[in-house]
């Protein structure tokens, strides 16, 4: 199923968790898809459908129970150190280190990559400037608003010049105005850097705006629907895709969250 240009490959991936009562909970089932180099794929699904589990598998934070995940030909869990400097992740919450100033948070990945202090400071400063935060370099996270903190976390992800960009509902906790502004900036940055990306969301509009391809998940995480978003799509074609996605999502019963 993988093309030679595939940067991300999920091949019949399954992931189960053990419940507190000893039973098994299947979060991901037989999931297969690929993402081509430079492609931005939006993953959409209801709460509890296993999107975040897929995200953690991709980030190498957990190991699949079956099948295999390959990112640039490597296993993100087993080849842990190989991915140093290659991944940029924006989480749902900003996950800034409270003891680091904004600039030190942006420079975090560069520090891990052993970039020289002067260089990483210059890079972090330029990213803060680009995100409109040049006057807040020395501020600690508690002194920043939610939108500013998420901007810092986006800058932190992009500062390492990642080959692979992962985002897990990064704008869902923000108000609409801030979320819209950041979404546009994120899209621009992703296009500029040419990184391959997976963007998880539960907003159809966000998926249509950000993804070149949309994968709709059904529980346990497996693909229920795929749509390719061509640049020249008319409003009617977009509306049709939106309606299809809504229909797929509506057919999915409600459930509790995935562990």
């Amino acid at each position: 199923m993988s093309g030679s240009n595939s940067e991300i490959i999920f091949e019949r991936v399954g992931k189960s968790f053990t419940r507190p009562d000893g039973g098994a909970f299947e979060a991901v089932q037989d999931l297969s898809f690929t993402v081509e180099r430079g492609e931005m794929v939006a993953v959409l699904g209801k709460t509890g459908c296993g999107k975040s589990t897929m995200f953690n598998l991709l980030a190498g934070l957990i190991q699949p129970s079956s099948g295999q995940v390959r990112v640039q030909g490597h296993d993100p869990y087993r080849d842990f150190a190989w991915f140093r400097g290659k991944l940029g992740i924006v989480f749902q919450s900003d996950r800034l280190m409270p003891w680091r100033s904004a600039i030190d948070n942006v420079a975090f990945g560069l520090e891990i990559n052993k970039v020289a202090p002067n260089e990483r400071r210059a890079v972090a400063e330029s990213w803060l400037k680009r995100m409109g935060l040049s006057g807040h370099a020395g501020d600690y996270p508690h002194a920043l608003s939610g939108g500013m903190r998420q901007r810092v976390s986006i800058a932190r992800a992009f500062a390492v010049k990642p080959d692979i960009l992962l985002a897990d509902e990064p704008f869902s906790a923000l108000d609409e105005v801030t979320g819209n502004a950041l979404r546009a900036e994120f899209l621009e940055l992703a296009r500029d850097t040419g990184a391959t990306g997976i963007f998880i969301t539960h907003s159809i509009d966000e998926a249509l705006q950000l993804g070149r391809r949309i994968l709709v998940f059904r529980r346990p995480a497996r693909i229920a629907y795929t749509a390719t978003i061509e640049s020249g799509l008319s409003a009617a074609q977009r509306a049709a895709i939106r309606a299809d996605i809504l229909r797929v999502l509506a057919a999915e019963p409600e459930s509790g969250a995935v562990p």
């Binding site: 992740i89 996950r95 003891w99 501020d139 920043l144 608003s145 105005v177 502004a181």
Partner: protein, 263 residues
């Protein structure tokens, strides 16, 4: 985009007005008592002050005070290193914690005086005896504080840090140490008072120098003013070190909003 919140007020620890009232009130009550009770029970404040000044005027007395201060800091330093290592090990390994936790709890039940007796029987050297007593009495507190801090480490921050693929050393440096640092500073402050009490007991029964030994001499000559003056020296040492720790805390925890820091 929403506006940034107003910067937090600058934190300035200080002794409050009420604190001075309490201290002055105690001194006045003591002075009044000295008018009605025999001198050997309640010496006057002037007499205590005379003894206090005499301690700092004599090199032998200064050496005694410095000896005790050194023992407190060495003992706390040893307990800090061992206790923190144990705390981190317990945090990293649940099975190790299951073995170590009951031992530390058991240790907490052992009175300082028992450690004094045990160390006198086990060891010859006075300094090592005192060091051993200090470590055994203050180690559990360091371990528990560090363990609590380690266990409260944010899973979100850990995942974020791991996504950048840090080495084990970098992970400890950039995440574990900053996480446990507030707990370590709290443990230092809590243990300082305990250590001051324990070192005096240890010196009282097994040393030939230090504040505990000086107190023993005052007791033998029934000199209450001298005993109070030596006690004040120890109290002032503890307060000064506590102030230093607070300043360090203020510096390294400056990222926290003022309201979250120690008052």
């Amino acid at each position: 985009m929403s506006e940034a919140p107003a910067p937090a007020a600058v934190f300035r620890p200080r002794i409050r007005y009420e604190g001075w009232v309490s201290i002055i009130g105690l001194a006045v009550a003591w002075q009044i008592a000295s008018l009605f009770f025999p001198h050997f029970l309640f010496p006057t404040l002037i007499d205590i002050a005379r003894h206090f000044i005499a301690i700092f005027a004599a090199s032998d007395s200064i050496a005694d005070a410095a000896e005790t201060a050194g023992r407190i800091l060495a003992g706390l330093g040893g307990a800090f290193v061992l206790g923190s290592a144990l705390g981190v090990l317990m945090g990293r390994s649940e099975s190790f914690a299951r073995y170590a936790y009951p031992l530390l709890n058991f240790n907490q039940g052992i009175p300082a005086l028992s450690w004094v007796v045990i160390s006198i029987i086990w060891f010859r050297g006075i300094e090592f005896r005192i060091f051993f007593i200090m470590v055994m009495t203050t180690l559990p507190s360091f371990s528990f504080q560090v363990l609590d801090a380690y266990r409260s480490m944010s899973k979100d921050l850990l995942e974020m840090a791991l996504s950048f693929r840090p080495s084990r050393y970098d992970l400890i440096r950039v995440l574990v140490l900053p996480t446990v640092l507030p707990g370590i500073l709290t443990a230092w402050k809590v243990n300082l008072g305990n250590a001051a009490r324990v070192v005096v007991v240890a010196e009282l029964v097994g040393a030939t120098g230090g504040i505990g030994y000086a107190l023993l001499q005052q007791q033998q000559i029934f000199d209450m003013a001298g005993a109070i003056a030596w006690t004040l020296v120890l109290v002032i040492f503890v307060l000064v070190v506590q102030r230093v720790i607070t300043l360090i805390e203020d510096r390294v925890l400056r990222y926290r909003p003022a309201a979250e820091r120690t008052v």
